[in-house]
Every structure is written in structure tokens, then in C-alpha cells.
């Protein structure tokens, strides 16, 4: 039986290796300067006054893909919320207050607003420089958890009404869909970037709907990460199994 399993692994591995080698032989050269798809993507993004071509691909030319990625994150967080809920044989303890050294606490409280602003900056400049909704949203959500690191879980819970974040997660997903449907109502295709004027190249208000979609993604990711971490923190800090179970 063991030998059979090894053979199966060997055959599968050999097949995978052969396929990978065949695929690698057909790849374009490493680090080439020209690529047929790249040239077309850059042309399209320049035509729509979006300085960051990656954002143009993510939120304009392939905005439908981003919708799929957003639903993956939404569904994953939903699954975690269901799995990590408080079970019947568990109970909640108050988190113990923690004594953190003063310089560390001051640093956390000082960096928290800086990190929040950086997150918003990364979201807002998604169409101009590297970054966008996902990156900025994660940074903003991480910033909030400096309260847990610099003080204690009770302090974080006071500024984090979980219901608000759950609602804003859903609202952001809806906003993305509504923006897509709006272009259908305007007479073009779903999520086509034809609603708004393209603006002046390389300014904050350029790129048509790209900044709006970026903002929706930023809100979705930030709330999703906060909700996800909240359930992990609840499990790690507050929820205890009943004795004798």
C-alpha cells in the first residue's frame, strides 16, 4: 500500500514537472522591456488619464476581476465570523488591564493617527502612485490595533463598535456593485469607466471612476480586516471554555 502511494506521488510529480518545464520553455524572456499586453494596458490607462497603470488594470480594464476578489474576501471574513462565534460551552471573561511601559504606550498613541492618515493617503493616491484600496485599507485597519498593542483590549473595544464595521463592510460591497450598475444604467457595460470625466492627468481627481472604486475597496478591506481581527482577538483574549467540558 505504501509503495503504491509512493508510485502515485512519483507519477504525479513527474507529470507536474514535465508540464512546468514545458510552460517555462514558452515564457517570454526574463525582464524584457516590451510586452504586447503591457503596451496595450499602458495605452488604455493613458487614454483614461490614470497615471498608475496597475490601478487602471485593476479598477477599470479588469474591474470585474476585482469584484470577484472583493467577494472572496467578503466570503472569507463571513466564514471566519461564523466559525469563531462564541459557542454554547464557552463564556466571556473581561480582558485584564495591562501595564505597558510608558514609552511604548506613547509611541503607539502617536503612531496610530499617523498610520491612519497614511492608510487614507495610500487609498486616495491609488490612481497616481503604487498602492490603492487594498493596501491602504489594511494599513488603516492595522493602525487601529495599535490600541491593543499599546494599551489593552478594553481600550480597543471602546473605539470599535463591531456592528458599525460589519455594516460598513456590507455597504462598501454594495457601493462597488452600485457603481457598476450605474454605468449599465448610463447605457454602457457593467463597471465600464464612462460615467465621470477623466480629469487632468496626474491629479487626485483623475481617472474617472477609478478613485471611487478604490475608495469602496479601501472601506471594504479596512472593515473586513477589523472584523476578522476582532473575532481572533475575542477568541484569544476573552472567550474561555467552560470548566469540565
Amino acid at each position: 500500500m505504501n509503495r503504491l502511494r509512493l508510485w502515485l506521488l512519483a507519477v504525479g510529480g513527474a507529470g507536474l514537472a514535465a508540464l512546468l518545464v514545458a510552460a517555462c520553455l514558452d515564457l517570454p524572456g526574463f525582464g524584457g522591456r516590451r510586452h504586447p499586453y503591457g503596451d496595450r494596458a499602458v495605452q488604455a490607462s493613458l487614454a483614461r488619464h490614470t497615471a498608475n497603470t496597475i490601478s487602471s488594470v485593476n479598477f477599470d480594464q479588469r474591474a470585474y476581476d476585482t469584484l470577484g476578489e472583493m467577494s472572496i474576501l467578503f466570503a472569507a471574513v463571513l466564514g471566519c465570523v461564523v466559525l469563531l462565534r462564541q459557542a454554547r460551552d464557552e463564556h466571556r471573561d473581561r480582558p485584564e488591564p495591562a501595564e505597558v511601559a510608558r514609552p511604548v504606550r506613547r509611541y503607539a498613541l502617536l503612531v496610530l493617527p499617523v498610520a491612519l492618515v497614511t492608510g487614507l493617503y495610500v487609498v486616495a493616491h491609488g490612481q497616481l502612485s503604487p498602492g490603492g484600496g487594498f493596501q491602504g485599507g489594511v494599513v488603516a485597519a492595522t493602525a487601529l490595533h495599535l490600541l491593543y498593542l499599546g494599551a489593552d483590549y478594553g481600550a480597543l473595544e471602546r473605539v470599535r463598535p463591531l456592528g458599525v464595521y460589519e455594516t460598513s463592510d456590507a455597504v462598501a460591497v454594495c457601493a462597488y456593485l452600485v457603481l457598476g450598475l450605474a454605468s449599465v444604467l448610463a447605457g454602457t457595460a457593467f463597471l465600464a469607466n464612462t460615467l465621470l470625466p477623466y480629469g487632468t492627468f496626474n491629479t487626485l481627481s483623475s481617472g474617472g471612476t477609478v478613485p471611487l472604486l478604490n475608495a469602496a475597496i479601501g472601506m471594504e478591506v479596512a472593515s473586513a480586516v477589523v472584523v476578522l481581527l476582532a473575532h481572533f482577538l475575542d477568541q484569544a483574549v476573552e472567550i474561555e471554555e467552560e470548566q469540565g467540558s
Binding site: 495610500v122 493596501q135 492595522t142 484569544a236
Partner: protein, 86 residues
Amino acid sequence: MSDAVIVVVLLLVAACATAAVVQRDPARQALVLSVLGVLLAALFTVLQAPDVGLSQLAVGSALTPLLIMLCVRKIRRRGRPKEDAR
């Protein structure tokens, strides 16, 4: 010659990823993983993909370690008797 930086970072990433797999203790794995995240961000930068590098930095430097370490803490606490956890 200008590819030297790419070679250096690629070698570092390969070594770090191997080290992360070889570690046995989850907490130590998380430490190596967070270093791997930073190195990967450098690799994406030298390959001229700063967007991907930013995503890697945002997720890998604080969020992933926090999730892993919270899980480790929960599991360790469950292993101990209740009075001892206090």
C-alpha cells in the same frame, strides 16, 4: 551587472522561505515568516512591481504575525489548566 541586486534578493528569499519551512515551532515560524514578508517586498521592488510589494508589506509585516500569534496564544492557553493561565 544591474541584475546583481535581483540575484542577491532572490537568494535571500529562497533561503528564508526554506528556513520558514524547516522551523518546527509555530511562534518561531511566524518570526521567520515576517522576515520573509519584508524580503519579498524588496524582491517585488527590484522586479519593478511596487504595487505588489506594498500589498506584501501591508499584509505581511503586522497583520499575518498578529493573526498567527493570536492563534498560538489561544492554543497554548487551552493546553494549560485554567488556574495556571491566570
